[in-house]
């Protein structure tokens, strides 16, 4: 891992408002190739909003996001995918009536991966979907739908991958397994941002975390350090610091 290399993603002073509510209030951070960055914070602190802004679902009301040196302002989501940004969803929304294989085929065909797209068979094997490859996505259980969502993202060969609560709902064995997969992806040079409530999981896989509260960064550094900062502890009082 090489967190020292130049960042591929720069988020600077981003503001996102919903009505009068400031979901993001001057958020700044960066992420480098090969780095796994954790975004943590209580519910409503703006983690998912940050992911939605970076992946182009929301246009920011202020500030700027640059990826690979180019601004992302006003670029449509599918173009961001072509540039090398992809994400998973907290609640995966696969194409329910299509088979698993067809779900992946769409992303392989339309993702315009900069390098050669991955092999369908390899993806199905690596993410334990081979047995259900020809079943409609509607038949999958929640964990399998999450894996399918991840594979849909990986099929486009992203250089920046945003994982929104991928681990929630997985059992301990699955957690260890997916942690290794995520680390392997980072070692291949992918920049990865992880939003997660499971602190053990975050501690295990991330190089660095940003602790957010009320749309702002309140801490940046190692999670082990973060949990000793009074301000961070205060924010997490109320049971968020579970698991």
């Amino acid at each position: 891992m090489s967190p020292e290399s130049a960042p591929i993603l720069n988020v600077s002073n981003v503001v996102k408002r919903f009505g009068g509510f400031h979901a993001l209030d001057g958020l700044s951070f960066h992420c480098a190739p090969g780095e796994i960055l954790g975004l943590v914070g209580p519910n409503g602190s703006g983690k998912t909003t940050a992911i939605n802004v970076i992946s182009g679902l929301y246009a920011p009301d202020g500030g700027e996001v640059t990826f690979d040196g180019a601004s992302l302002g006003g670029v449509a989501s599918h173009r961001l995918v072509h540039r090398g940004i992809n994400r998973t969803f907290q609640i995966p929304k696969p194409f329910l009536s299509l088979t698993v294989r067809q779900n992946i085929a769409v992303a392989l065909a339309y993702g315009r991966a900069a390098v050669a797209p991955p092999e369908m068979a390899a993806l199905l094997d690596e993410y334990r979907l081979a047995d259900v490859a020809d079943r409609p996505a509607a038949d999958l259980n929640n964990a399998q739908q999450k894996m399918l969502d991840l594979v849909r993202a990986l099929a486009t060969r992203p250089r920046l991958l945003l994982l929104d609560e991928l681990a929630a709902g997985l059992n301990p064995a699955e957690l260890d397994w997916i942690a290794e997969r995520i680390k392997a992806l980072a070692q291949g040079g992918m920049a990865i941002i992880v939003v997660e409530h499971l602190m053990g999981f975050i501690e295990h896989i991330t190089d660095r975390v940003i602790v957010m509260n009320a749309g702002k960064e309140i801490f940046e550094g190692k999670l082990a350090v973060a949990v000793q900062v009074p301000q961070v502890i205060e924010v997490f009082l109320g049971g968020e610091h579970a698991a």
Partner: protein, 306 residues
């Protein structure tokens, strides 16, 4: 054998062959022609509703616009019928382009806005103030181009084109991506699919098909009124036929047209209100008991339906 070829060989070719031969052995040519028209319209609905999820409740707008496009070219420019049919297709596409903003609406809002749009086009065309151009409510008479045999062949050509488009959608990555957009537009965009462009292409394709169908219809009947070619029955029948068979398949809408339009003609027109009653009950039964169409009887058993 690639499946697109199989579908063409075993579904499209036999269907076209049957309808090419039938006029020689069956006398009611108008009925055969209407079957072909409804096959085209049901497949046109299939393209937009089956593959993208937009319910075109005013689909007849394109059909009527196509019929009037044909009529205007023949009346005012003495165009040959084949050119006028092509122009009818373009009129359909032009109306489709004009209505692309409707694609911003979802669910029932789209369906209602599309219905309103078709009625707006009807009242526009039928307006006495436009008598010099469209003949307003007084209808058009195109005896100069009257040639049912050729018009029937043209209808078959349009049907072939439409079926070709559906076979392509059923067997291509493009069709798969359209279905992905239908299932979830956000996830589709995150698979790299340009959601807006896909929807517009499907919308214009179904508009083209209905415009061409309207053109050949005008050619075949040669005398018609705005209320004939903008009749809401065209939209409803096309939707119900497609839905009854099962959308997002090639065979579903075909089966739907053959069974339901067959029943329609067996019941006959002598007592329209009894017919309307039976038809209404049939539609209600369809939605309540077979919402995914006849093909779902097969797919539920795990059989693949092309």
């Amino acid at each position: 054998m690639p499946s697109a070829f199989k579908h063409t060989l075993f579904i499209v070719a036999p269907l076209l062959a049957v309808f090419a031969v039938l006029p020689g052995v069956y006398e009611n040519h108008l009925l055969l022609f209407n079957f072909v028209i409804f096959l085209i319209l049901a497949q046109g609905v299939n393209i937009i509703y089956g593959f993208t999820g937009y319910l075109p409740f005013g689909y007849v707008g394109f059909f009527g616009a196509g019929a009037y496009g044909f009529a205007i070219l023949v009346m005012h420019y003495q165009a040959p019928a084949v050119i006028a049919v092509l122009a009818a297709g373009l009129v359909g596409v032009a109306l489709g382009l004009l209505l692309t903003p409707l694609l911003r609406l979802s669910g029932a809002y789209f369906a209602i806005a599309n219905l309103a749009a078709s009625l707006a086009v009807l009242h526009f065309v039928a307006n006495p103030a436009l008598e010099n151009i469209t003949r307003g409510p007084y209808g058009v008479s195109l005896t100069g181009t009257f040639n049912p045999t050729l018009a029937y062949s043209a209808a078959l050509a349009v049907l072939a084109l439409t079926l070709g488009a559906v076979v392509f959608l059923k067997n291509s990555g493009f069709g798969l991506a359209l279905q992905a957009v239908r299932e979830d537009a956000v996830s589709a965009s995150m698979a790299g699919v340009n959601v807006v462009r896909m929807r517009v292409i499907a919308w214009l394709a179904s508009a083209l098909v209905a415009g061409l169908a309207g053109g050949v219809y005008a050619w075949y009947v040669s005398v018609f009124y705005p209320d004939n070619v903008f009749s809401g029955d065209f939209s409803i029948f096309a939707i119900v036929f497609a839905l009854f068979g099962g959308v997002a398949t090639i065979s579903g809408p075909i089966v739907g047209v053959i069974i339901l339009y067959g029943i329609y003609n067996l019941i006959g027109f002598t007592t329209p209100q009894y017919f309307q009653l039976i038809y209404g009950l049939l539609i209600m039964g369809l939605v309540l008991f077979l919402p995914a169409g006849l093909v779902s009887l097969a797919t539920r058993r795990g059989w693949h339906v092309p």
